[in-house]
């Protein structure tokens, strides 16, 4: 760990994750295809896990290091489950509506 630390400061990881996160948000806001929105969300999740690992490696006190790592693992699992679930639902929508374009799925409003 220390070795890495000398070469790459924490900020780089944080900036990277921030960029990832923003990209994800951007994607969620701009994409119209439900699946792509889901992908953007995944980007954001990854940003979060990068943060976790980075903090675990750099900032966290000795006894809390493991938490970040574990957290990252959990995030990955949850994300996977999330994708499965979301795709199932999107599939239902596609079956019933013939589209996965979220702008056309606006029967419920006001």
């Amino acid at each position: 760990m220390e070795a890495v630390a000398q070469q790459i400061p924490l900020e780089h990881f944080l900036v990277l994750s921030a960029i990832l996160f923003s990209l994800g948000v951007y994607g969620v806001l701009t994409r119209r295809n439900a699946v792509l929105i889901l992908m953007s969300v995944e980007l954001m999740l990854n940003a979060a896990s990068i943060n976790m690992v980075a903090f675990a490696a750099y900032a966290a006190p000795e006894r809390a290091v493991v938490i970040g790592i574990v957290f990252a693992v959990f995030i990955i699992t949850v994300a996977a489950a999330e994708v499965g679930l979301a795709l199932a639902i999107i599939l239902r929508v596609f079956r019933n509506r013939g589209t996965a374009n979220v702008d056309e799925v606006d029967q419920l409003k006001w």
């Binding site: 948000v25 969620v28 806001l29 701009t30 994409r31 119209r32 439900a34 929105i37 979220v102 702008d103 799925v105 606006d106 029967q107 419920l108 409003k109 006001w110």
Partner: protein, 632 residues
């Protein structure tokens, strides 16, 4: 049974009223006997009171201000103590005698006049209440009880004038009477409270005493006097409140007799006479009363000339007489006023009851449909004549003495005096006219006249008694005669507060008035008996004047216009304002605005997922920005 027990007088008829209202239908003859018994008892009970009073007068003489007796009714912290109490002195006693006697006569008379009426029992109940409240009014020792009774009198007049409630005209007349008098009552109530404010008491004598002691601020006293007068004018039908009185003829004739002769309309005169000391304390107070009285008397006199309804003519004559009484009060001769009131009670009751028996016999009351009844109903004719000429002021009839007393009182005031003299022949003229058109000449509707006949006993007896009194009351003013008639000390002594010599009989004045009256009578005779076409020609000649008189100086129309155009229209405008501005705009408006905000806001829910996400992002960014700015 002394003066302090006088509270019994109103209580008796009041009790009769209560019984009649609650159990009337179950009583034999609907309980009319009970009412009459009660009022008769009250009448009889006046004599011991008179005796007590005269003895008290004999004892204390001058400084006797009367006997009082009262019980607490309602006490409120802040020095508001309301009591019920009686106060008896000479004026009171005169009113008691007149009131109870006339009421008794009228009720007896009604026995046959009202027979078969659908609300016979109710009629007697109301009559009892009327008598009770009038007696209470004159006995009241404080303004509050006076107002109390005052309002009840108004109520009874409302009930009785509207007795034939199935007639629209009766309902309207009753309403008119009540509302008109009530306008005056507003003044009275305000005056009472104002006086209380400065003196802390409602007792009439105490207030007067305080006023004389100068404890009441001048402006307050002035205001309250004017307002008192307002109340009196309302009840006593003084110009411009007189309009209700002729319409009040819609009631049963006996009621008119009671209202005009002894009870309601003289209440105002009584009130002013009671509080005259207050008026005298106010600069111009008496003059105001005088002016109003004079104006009223003068205006009303002419109306008598053109009216064709027998009762209306008498009604205007009443207004005329009331004007005279106010004049007497105005010139500071309360004794004369009370004397006139006393005599007037009898002959005016007589006139109305006579008119009543005419109406009873012919079911007509337009003089143009009457005539030639003299032979058919002699008793009525004679008694009516007595009443009419007493009203006209023919010498040695009751009205003559009283009117001369007033004339003498007014002697100092040239203007008033001359106006009075002017009004004399007019009065005489229209009374003559009335008598002639009703009883003399040819019957204009023969078949009606044919069936006419004198009234049954129950009606004739009161007529006769009243006629007799009309003949003699004038004489009893000389206290010897009074004594002879069994009033120890003579009524004169009572009326003139123990000094008969104040009754000045000025032969000059008497002669003048007699000549004028004679002139009036002759003129009337000439115009309506000898040359009947003359009046029509006169009417043709002076059409506008005639029209004005027939329309009562257009006053009623004027008031009607005010009510319709101003009061009702104004109220409609306000109601519109309340509904459309206050409610629909103010109240509903705010509600609608809230709803509309909801309407606008609901469109943030576009149904499009990215917008939702955007909203969340905006929320985050906004919170973050604010957080940073707060921290740095």
């Amino acid at each position: 049974m002394g003066m302090t027990d006088a509270w019994l007088l109103p209580v008796l008829p009041a009790g009769a009223f209560a019984v009649l209202v609650l159990f009337g239908p179950y009583l034999p003859r609907r309980g009319d006997w009970l009412a009459i018994a009660a009022i008769f008892a009250s009448f009889v009970l006046t004599f011991p009171i008179i005796a007590d009073l005269t003895s008290a007068l004999a004892e204390h003489g001058e400084e006797f201000v009367g006997a009082a007796n009262s019980i607490p009714w309602l006490e409120v912290p802040g020095n508001l103590e309301l009591r019920l109490g009686v106060h008896v002195d000479a004026i009171t006693v005169v009113m008691l005698v007149v009131g109870s006697f006339v009421a008794l006569m009228v009720q007896v008379y009604s026995l046959s006049y009202m027979r078969g009426d659908s609300r016979y029992g109710w009629y007697y109940a109301a009559m009892s209440l009327f008598a009770a409240s009038m007696l209470a009014l004159v006995l009241a020792d404080n303004f509050l009880l006076l107002y109390f009774a005052w309002e009840l009198v108004g109520l009874c007049s409302y009930l009785l004038i509207g007795h034939y409630s199935h007639l629209r005209s009766a309902a309207e007349a009753a309403k008119k009477a009540f509302i008109t008098t009530r306008l005056g009552d507003v003044g009275l109530l305000i005056a009472i409270i104002l006086l209380w404010r400065d003196t802390g008491t409602f007792g009439i004598q105490e207030v007067i005493a305080a006023a004389q002691a100068g404890e009441i601020r001048t402006e307050v006293l002035t205001a309250s006097v004017v307002l008192l007068l307002l109340g009196a004018m309302g009840k006593s039908a003084q110009f411009p409140f007189h309009v209700w009185l002729p319409d009040a003829m819609e009631g049963p004739t006996p009621v008119s007799a009671l209202i005009h002769a002894a009870t309601m309309v003289v209440a105002g005169v009584y009130l002013v006479a009671r509080t005259l000391p207050l008026f005298e304390l106010v600069a111009g107070g008496p003059e105001l009363v005088l002016a109003i009285g004079l104006f009223t008397a003068f205006l009303s006199a002419f109306l008598g000339l053109v009216m064709t309804d027998i009762k209306r003519v008498i009604a205007y004559s009443t207004i005329n007489s009331l004007g005279l009484m106010f004049v007497a009060l105005g010139v500071g001769a309360p004794a004369a006023a009370m004397l006139y009131l006393f005599t007037h009670a009898f002959f005016k009751a007589l006139l109305f009851l006579g008119a009543g028996s005419v109406i009873h016999a012919t079911e007509r009351q337009d003089v143009n449909q009457l005539g030639g009844l003299w032979s058919k109903m002699p008793l009525t004719g004679v008694t009516f004549a007595v009443g009419a000429f007493s009203m006209a002021g023919l010498p040695f009839l009751a009205g003559f003495w009283a009117k001369d007393e007033i004339l003498v009182g007014a002697l100092e005031n040239r203007v008033a005096f001359s106006f009075l003299l002017l009004s004399l022949p007019v009065t005489a003229m229209y009374m003559t006219r009335l008598f002639i058109l009703t009883f003399l000449g040819q019957a204009r509707e023969p078949e009606v006249a044919k069936h006419a006949h004198d009234a049954p006993l129950a009606m004739s007896v009161p007529l006769a008694l009243l006629a007799l009194l009309t003949l003699v009351t004038g004489l009893v003013v000389f206290d010897q005669v009074g004594r002879a008639l069994g009033f120890p000390g003579g009524i004169g002594e009572l009326i003139f507060l123990g000094e008969p010599e104040v009754f000045h009989f000025d032969t000059g004045v008497a002669a003048a008035s007699s000549e004028l009256v004679a002139l009036g009578i002759i003129a009337g005779w000439f115009a309506w008996a000898v040359r009947p076409e003359l009046p029509q020609r006169a009417a043709q000649a002076f059409r506008p004047i005639h029209a004005m008189l027939v329309n009562k100086y257009y006053l009623d129309d004027f008031y009607q216009a005010i009510i319709d155009r101003v009061v009702l229209a104004g109220s409609r405008v306000l109601a519109w304002f309340d509904r459309n501005v206050v409610n629909d705009t103010g109240v509903d408006g705010s509600a609608l605005t809230t709803g509309f905000m909801g309407y606008l806001l609901k469109f943030q829910q576009t149904g499009k997922l990215p917008n939702y996400a955007l909203a969340m992002v905006i929320g985050v960014v906004a919170l973050a920005l604010v957080a940073f700015t707060l921290k740095t």
